[in-house]
Symmetry: C2
Amino acid sequence: MNFLKLFLLFSLLPVAFSHETFDSRLLPRPLILEYPDIAETHFNDLENELRLHCDSWRFSVEANNVNPWKTIPEECAGYVKDYLTGRAYAFDLERVSKEAGVYAKSVELNGDGKDVWIFDIDDTLLSNLPYYADHGYGLKLYEEVLSLGFKVFLLTGRTEGKRKVTVENLNNAGFREWHKLILRSADDHEKLAIIYKSEKRSEMEKEGYRLLGNSGDQWSDLLGTSVALRSFKLPNPMYYIP
Amino acid sequence: MNFLKLFLLFSLLPVAFSHETFDSRLLPRPLILEYPDIAETHFNDLENELRLHCDSWRFSVEANNVNPWKTIPEECAGYVKDYLTGRAYAFDLERVSKEAGVYAKSVELNGDGKDVWIFDIDDTLLSNLPYYADHGYGLKLYEEVLSLGFKVFLLTGRTEGKRKVTVENLNNAGFREWHKLILRSADDHEKLAIIYKSEKRSEMEKEGYRLLGNSGDQWSDLLGTSVALRSFKLPNPMYYIP
């Protein structure tokens, strides 16, 4: 902001130096020097206030302090849209993917085919946002854990009836290899996601799998029982699934 | 930013209108009109880039995706300082406290004296930052859960030898009532915080306490085993304790 002040100083200098010679009726000097400054300050105050507020809401959501939540706060709708359509969401996704990759490479695999990485599907491997849907969202980490020798389990809240379309969606987005795709059976329809997913992870453990990593955009993908050794929370300020 | 552009337009208008009459040798017009604009754009680009990067780092830390971490990324030192000394940290603390309060009021207490809220001490009840140290940091939620009838357990990584000074610190900051203050005994010195705190929570459970809420600035205050029904993560982009 200091640079901005410097710039304003420079841009106003000619006014200061020239006001003796130029026609002061053209634009009254006090108006130029004072009015926009006050209005801009006020506007920036409001903008900063809203950003503080919505930043804080987003942090609380991502740290699972706000829980449950039903909708984006009305006043943060524009903020969330900017976040998702701007570069910040991409930045955040990239970082989670990178951190997960660092961990995946560091963790010692047993190599007996029982080392597991779990992926949620919607807004973890597949995106609802057109840009991300077309740009291999989630694919990088996926390829990485596969090449390291993890067994990949896909654990989704989608129902069994959507198996075929889900496989198509996955294939179309470049995901072609997994050990198991787990969808909700009729028995699981009424369960909270956190219960359903915990039960499925517990079954994996009972089958002797070691749950080393888990990636999901919802805390209900990651918490509960039989949690993975490390969980990676992808950002999602759009909706909350209990 | 549109408003800023408008402001610049207005502030440059007199230059445009007056350049015939004022001494153009004083400050050459192209310099004024072009140079700061480019420099400012470049500066804003860098600033935005750094903010995106450091925002993303902070999110990853608060969502426990970056784990462990040793230091604040060098390039984010100024960002973290601004965050802590500006209003954003206060905003975030306030929100966590508020969300915890909403939950505390909503949860049904058994009323048998076994309903527990756990607080970490450093950077949860007591702050290292001078401003917060003097402004009842953490006190509001503390008073709230006490008045609701929770039993308060203080669970800190400080060692038993610091009991006296810890009590003094707490009293000086306005904390005078708790059920139990648990510090590290000699046996616990070598343990990771997450192990030590899990063990202490497990002991509480064995004594019949219901761990309904837990507030801490470190994930190692909140995760592990015998986790509370709800955990509240206070922001801390300063340091990480495993």
